[in-house]
Amino acid sequence: MAIAVEHFTRTYGAFTAVDDLSIAVAAGEIVGLIGPNGAGKTTTLRALAGILLPTSGRIVVDGHDLAADSIEAKKRLAFMPDEPHLFEYLTVDEHLRLVARLYTVPDFERRASALIQELELTGKERSLPGELSRGMRQKVVIACGLVRDASVLLFDEPLTGLDPLGIRKMRETIVARGRAGAAILVSSHLLNLVEEICTRIVIMDHGRKIADGTVAELASRAEAAAGSNLEQIFLKVTGRD
């Protein structure tokens, strides 16, 4: 498995954000992580990215334990958060260059140029984050994640701030990376996006995994009406219908 989360628990003082979560994502799989606000999705993704330490449990990326062998695990990871954190005084091009240096990216110039074109950042290469719109900054973060050949991609609300064309391109990019063999975990509240691009869906609520499977499997388990979409299934599974 490219991503293996085993009995992951994360607490903040007395509050348990994620409780005994186990998920596995295989190479080439695109898994959607959905749930109501406060379900523990972002905590899970941040722990997977190495930002938060698990209170208990184990996270393995491409066979490398994130706690014991963090450098090798992180080399294989790309995390695209919902809130773009960029260095105030580095340009778009310099952000990509810094990432290329830290992750040792071969053929950087070609990759960067292709990504800048793909994400419609052409002409913004020498702009600082302060000169960019929120959507543009989000694209820079995505470009930094995609400029290297990460085998595990983690997207937290990847479409936030993007324009309609950007949303379509992002959708295509995620699918293309999945087809190319990357293991992808996407957290989003846009259920139609998740339904459209994900091969499997994990539903979380109150820090626990409450459902895991394809849309058809989830519909069957939730005893949803025939032809139900993900939104209807989600509301039924979480008891909010």
């Binding site: 990215a49 930002i51 330490l53 005084y89 290329a100 240096r101």
Partner: protein, 579 residues
């Protein structure tokens, strides 16, 4: 709007106090609060009691804080001159008034509300009062022991002074922005206060220069000359508002305080009227389509930083520390505005060239000694204060910890890389100071031999960076081990508990630095002991090299040892500052 402003101010203050009290449940804040309160007790009450015991009096004096006799005579007018000089300099400072700094929430809620720009400014004035009141109360509490009533007068006087200064600076900022307006009528109105200030500077400047041309035997003479220059005639009229706002805190009785208060209120009213009028003029500019934000922000200030070419492209391979050093360099190059370089660099070269020219031409010992001492102070200050001020290491980048933690780098590499650039910058400043001091030390200190002078300089050049690196190591260790106790980025935790935490950290940093320096001192001292009879002052150079080598090895070891702590650090444990 005034009611709404008061509501926001009171609710915010109430909730802030409640939050600070609630956080005392955490031991780190409770310990901080105990230390902070102990400091206050010792600094205010115990000190006051000590003074009473020494003076043999039960109560403090009713007069203003004690000053030297010469200040009693000429203090107000000379201080007024100082305030006037600051007021004049404010026109040239690129910074913006804090009164015009609206928070995101204020922009969201108030800029979209049906209120005028003038009301928005009044709101900012109201909101700033808690801060001004706290600041003036602290000034009064920490002043030389005086009676309770004198403390109240001091607090009130300083409150009005701070309020006037804040409003004045806001008015200057708005007027400066008006001078850049596209509308000629708007620019013309802005020239009135600008012209008045320029005329005032000319009048007072001429008077001061005339007086200072007379011979002086010391500081007292200079103060007397300055008092003469400002106490009568047109200069006195020009300085009157500046003297008026200074008078209330320093009055000796309640009667004189009330009398002085009238004048200072008059000045406050005039400055407030000027600020509000400036805003009205700005509305005319905003009416041409610049929008609400432009109404209160000079156009230049809202422009994001431009990406200047730094002439250094990051290579795609190499040590990660160098990549982080490069990142720090980019932040420095782009963080410093073009204006700073435009003026600072030629000014520095000018000062250096003129001093050297004067020294060479006249073979004077004085100017050379001055330059030498100034340069040595720069070098000493860089070593002592540089690591506190240059925070472009983990203390700043912990704001980006989410990003740093995802990088596949060894923790030691990240820590060293983050420290590398500020160490280089502060060391360069120190080297420049040492070099200039050494260069000018010959004519300044002719009795000291060339070999001795340059030996000391070289020793300082070797030992300084090691001390600087050690300080950065200590600061970054504190950041990693106690992130909740360190000021991260520009945010700053407030309150007695936060102050107590800072005191504890300061003491811990001093002790840690002493411990780190000790092995180096022992090593360097041993070299000095063995060779000083043979090599005389030259021995300081190898002693400093040994000292630097030992301390730098310690820095390396510390950064490596910090690795596990960095890996374990929890981003949620980082204190978020209060706005």
């Amino acid at each position: 709007m005034l009611a709404a402003s008061l509501y926001i101010t009171v609710c915010s203050a109430k909730n802030r106090v409640r939050m600070r009290l609630r956080r005392l449940r955490e031991p780190r804040y409770l310990i901080g609060a105990i230390v902070g309160l102990a400091y206050f007790y010792l600094a205010i009450f115990a000190r006051g009691r000590g003074a009473v015991v020494r003076n043999g009096r039960r109560r403090g004096t009713d007069g203003p804080p004690g000053f030297p006799p010469i200040f009693e005579l000429a203090g107000t007018s000379v201080s007024g001159l100082g305030v006037f000089a600051c007021a004049a300099v404010a026109w040239f400072l690129p910074a913006r008034s804090g009164l015009l700094e609206f928070s995101d929430a204020e922009r969201e809620f108030l800029f979209t509300a049906p209120v005028s720009r003038r009301q928005l400014l009044a709101h900012r004035v109201v909101r700033s009062q808690i801060g001004s009141l706290v600041a003036s109360t602290f000034i009064a509490l920490f002043a030389t022991p005086v009676s309770g009533l004198a403390r109240v007068r001091l607090a009130l006087g300083f409150w009005i002074l701070l309020l006037t200064v804040r409003i004045y600076y806001a008015a200057v900022t708005l007027t400066r922005a008006r001078l850049q307006s596209d509308v000629p009528a708007v620019r013309r109105v802005a020239w009135l206060p600008t012209g008045l200030m320029a005329a005032g500077v000319a009048v007072v400047g001429v008077s001061v220069v005339r007086q200072l041309q007379q011979s002086s035997s010391g500081l007292s003479d200079i103060i007397v000359h300055l008092a003469r220059a400002t106490a009568t005639g047109v200069p006195h009229v020009v300085l009157w508002p500046f003297i008026a706002i200074l008078r209330p805190p320093f009055t000796g009785s309640t009667q004189t305080f009330i009398a002085a208060l009238g004048s200072s209120f008059l000045v406050l009213a005039a400055v407030t009227a000027w600020m509000l009028a400036s805003d009205a003029t700005f509305d005319a500019v905003a009416g041409e389509g610049r929008g609400a934000a432009a109404a209160v922000e000079p156009q230049a200030a809202v422009q994001p930083a431009r990406a200047r070419s730094a002439g250094w492209t990051l290579a795609l391979t190499g040590r990660p520390e160098l990549a982080l050093l490069w990142k720090g360099a980019m932040a420095t190059v782009r963080g410093i505005s073009a204006k700073t370089w435009r003026y600072a660099v030629p000014a520095a070269f000018g000062v250096f060239g003129i001093s050297f020219g004067v020294m060479q031409a006249n073979r004077l010992q004085g100017p050379a000694a001055s330059v030498c001492v100034v340069a040595a102070i720069v070098a000493f200050g860089a070593v002592l204060l540089g690591p506190q001020v240059a925070r472009l290491d983990l203390r700043t980048d912990f704001e980006h910890l989410d990003v740093l933690k995802t990088w596949p780098l060894r923790a030691g590499d990240v820590i060293r890389g983050e420290m590398a650039w500020p160490i280089l910058v502060v060391s360069s400043m120190m080297w420049a100071g040492v070099f200039v001091a050494a260069l000018f030390s010959g004519p300044a200190f002719p009795d000291v031999s060339f070999v001795s002078r340059w030996s000391f300089a070289l020793a300082a050049a070797f030992a300084g960076p090691a001390l600087i690196a050690a300080q950065f190591a200590v600061h970054n260790t504190a950041t990693i081990l106690f992130p909740a106790w360190v000021q991260i980025g520009t945010q700053r935790a407030r309150g007695v508990d936060a102050m107590g935490q800072r005191l504890i950290m300061l003491a811990a940093i001093i002790v840690s630095l002493a411990i780190m320096a000790l092995p180096g001192l022992l090593g360097g001292g041993a070299v000095w002991l063995i060779f000083h009879r043979i090599a005389e002052d030259i021995v300081f150079v190898p002693a400093a090299i040994v000292f630097a080598a030992i301390v730098l090895v310690e820095v390396l070891v510390v950064t490596e040892l910090l690795g596990p702590a960095y890996e374990r650090i929890d981003v949620t444990s980082i204190e978020r500052g209060e706005s």
